[in-house]
């Protein structure tokens, strides 16, 4: 503690430089935390899904549909205890530029299969009764100022036309990664409007035992192998993970950019520390003359580097932790449950420690190894 005054005095020597260095570290770690949180949020989303739920899609790709007639055949398989289906709708709201997730579901079976949607009983009943009703996430309510009972019109993109729904119910997800910004409506209404096409985007299959999942998935896919629309069945986790892997390269890009930013800031910080130490060559020689040991001077310069790196880290990581919840950030609906995880704060802290070591080590070693007489000769 007795050396605190000396450390603070040295940090205050060039206040602007110190402040800018700390802000550089803060900005770098804010970006690092933000980019890493994108990756961790995507990973958390990929972990979603009940162990007893399988998802069946068209084997050609998720954008291709399946016949609604498959439902009864799947339901008849041994081990299948429940079935629901859904269709991606892809409608836009307002000026046609506002987008959020919206899809048609077989409401009764869907809500039974997804207890993760927490809905007040009266609203649930109202939604199930109303063919043109909609169930929305609470974020949409906040975002657009909608009220329960009000009509909302979407412009269809895949399925053209104006689609008007009544907001009957609002859900809160039990897991934030599920997202609270989707609109779901009745598949029956959807099917009627598109002329009874009898299509389902995907089936959700509830099974009796997670251990039977591979066997049941194989039975489903074998059943439709030679039909016009072959199926691909997997666990719900695999289904979610397939979305996350679509982001695979983005995650890699995010990590790479994050590391590049940290490395660039490392160079800035290291340069600032080296400049600071070089300017003080004479003073370091004087301190050695007074009796400061090489080890003590090494430690003091490392503490200076640490004070800058850790203050920057506290600002950057703390800022990220507070900022995103304050603005309810969810990446325009693509990153539901976005949050700066504790693991990100820990990794960020370790990055800051690395910054401290990397930026302080060279000037600290130079100071420790400085030959007093030569240094004094330059000063005198």
């Amino acid at each position: 503690m007795k050396y605190l005054g000396l450390v603070l005095a040295n940090l205050g020597r060039h206040k602007l430089r110190t402040v800018l260095t700390i802000l550089s570290v803060a900005l770098a770690l804010f970006l690092f935390a933000s980019l890493r949180s994108v990756t961790t949020t995507l990973a958390a989303t990929a972990q979603l899904g009940g162990a007893r739920r399988l998802v069946t899609t068209n084997a050609t790709g998720i954008v291709f549909v399946l016949p609604l007639a498959y439902g009864n055949r799947i339901k008849a398989l041994p081990g299948v205890t429940g079935l629901s289906w859904a269709n991606w709708f892809g409608g836009r709201y307002g000026d046609g530029k506002t987008f959020f997730a919206n899809f048609a579901v077989d409401a009764e079976s869907y809500l039974k299969m997804y207890p993760e949607f927490i809905i007040p009983d009266d609203q649930r009943a109202a939604f199930l009764r109303d063919r043109t009703g909609a169930l929305i996430g609470k974020r949409l309510l906040r975002q657009f100022g909608w009220k329960v009972g009000q009509n909302v019109t979407l412009q269809g993109t895949i399925f053209p036309g104006e689609w008007t729904f009544t907001v009957d119910a609002v859900y809160t997800p039990s897991d934030p990664s599920l997202g609270d910004d989707a609109l779901v409506f009745h598949h029956e209404y959807f099917d009627e409007r598109i002329g009874r096409a009898g299509i389902a985007g995907w089936y959700i299959v509830e099974i009796d035992d997670p251990a039977h999942a591979p066997q049941i998935a194989k039975s489903i896919d074998d059943m439709f192998r030679n039909s016009s629309a072959a199926t691909k069945t997997g666990t719900e986790k695999e289904f979610q993970a397939s979305f996350a892997t679509m982001w695979g390269n983005v995650s890699f890009l995010m990590s790479t950019i994050g590391l590049a930013v940290v490395f660039a800031i490392l160079l800035v910080t290291a340069n600032a520390m080296m400049m600071s130490a070089r300017e003080r060559t004479g003073e370091i020689a004087v301190l050695k003359t007074v009796g400061f040991s090489d080890r003590l001077l090494f430690a003091l310069i490392m503490v200076e580097a640490g004070a800058m790196a850790l203050t920057g880290a506290a600002l950057g990581l703390g800022g990220a932790k507070l900022f995103y919840p304050a603005i309810s950030f969810n990446g325009a609906g693509f990153l539901p449950g976005f949050k700066v995880a504790t693991s990100t704060l820990v990794v960020g802290g370790l990055v800051a420690l690395g910054l401290m070591l990397a930026s302080g080590l060279v000037p600290a070693l130079r100071a420790a190894q400085l030959p007093i007489v030569q240094a004094l000769r330059k000063v005198e």
Partner: protein, 231 residues
């Protein structure tokens, strides 16, 4: 036994391919409580001798002993600890740390001791009082005159009550009045507080204040002269 014993000291430097011999077997003693002026032309080895006594440099051969401790045989870490309690060094260009106040500059050697904060404060105040700068404790070096800066440096040199004070041209950058003040202060420290003082100077007036004057030339001690009234 003398406080400082220089025995058969050789010191040479390498400049490019040329070897420069500064001392070739120098031997001399400095007594405790003495006030010694080292004089001689540039390159005669005055500052090098001061550096050897302070343990800032090591002789190529021979031994330097201060207060019974063989300085020339100590490791770098031993020397640092030894300097903290035995050497008070004053430079020609003051060399105060510009980011610290006069008080904080004077306190620096005491940070290396086990003294409590209260004890350090008492000692720093006493040292500043001795050099006549008690009212300048909170001033930064840039707010002090040259003479005041040098007196602060002297306060820093005496605050840990060292065995010997070494001053390298302490009046070299001062005007006549400030020089006289600093020299009078050194005399007082020697007479009243029995501090052993070794001063390197080109200034004959400064040397007159010393009790003993040693003349060096090309690394050899060519004259040792006691001031009038001093044996």
């Amino acid at each position: 036994m003398a406080l400082v014993e220089i025995r058969d000291v050789y010191k040479s430097f390498q400049r490019d391919t040329q070897k420069i011999d500064v001392f070739t077997g120098l031997t001399l003693d400095i007594e405790a409580g003495s006030f010694t002026a080292l004089m001689g032309p540039s390159g005669s080895g005055k500052s090098t001798l001061l550096n050897l006594i302070a343990g800032l440099d090591k002789p190529t051969r021979g031994s330097v002993t201060v207060g019974g401790a063989q300085v020339s045989a100590m490791s770098a870490s031993q020397l640092a600890a030894w300097r903290a309690s035995n050497i008070g060094f004053v430079f020609q260009s003051f060399n105060l740390l510009p980011v610290l106040t006069a008080y904080q500059n004077v306190e620096l050697p005491l940070l290396l001791t086990r003294l409590s904060s209260r004890e350090r404060t008492e000692r720093v105040k006493l040292a500043l009082d001795v050099v006549g700068l008690a009212d300048r404790a909170d001033h930064y070096p840039r707010q002090l005159s040259g003479g005041q800066e040098q007196r602060t440096a002297i306060a820093r040199a005496i605050v840990a009550d060292p065995t010997v004070m070494l001053l390298d041209e302490p009046t070299g950058q001062l005007d006549a009045k400030s020089s006289q003040e600093v020299l009078a202060l050194l005399q007082r420290l020697n007479n009243e507080f029995s501090k052993t003082i070794v001063i390197v100077t080109h200034d004959a007036h400064a040397a007159e204040r010393a009790k003993t004057t040693l003349h060096l030339e090309k690394g050899d001690l060519i004259e040792k002269r006691a001031a009038a009234g001093v044996r």
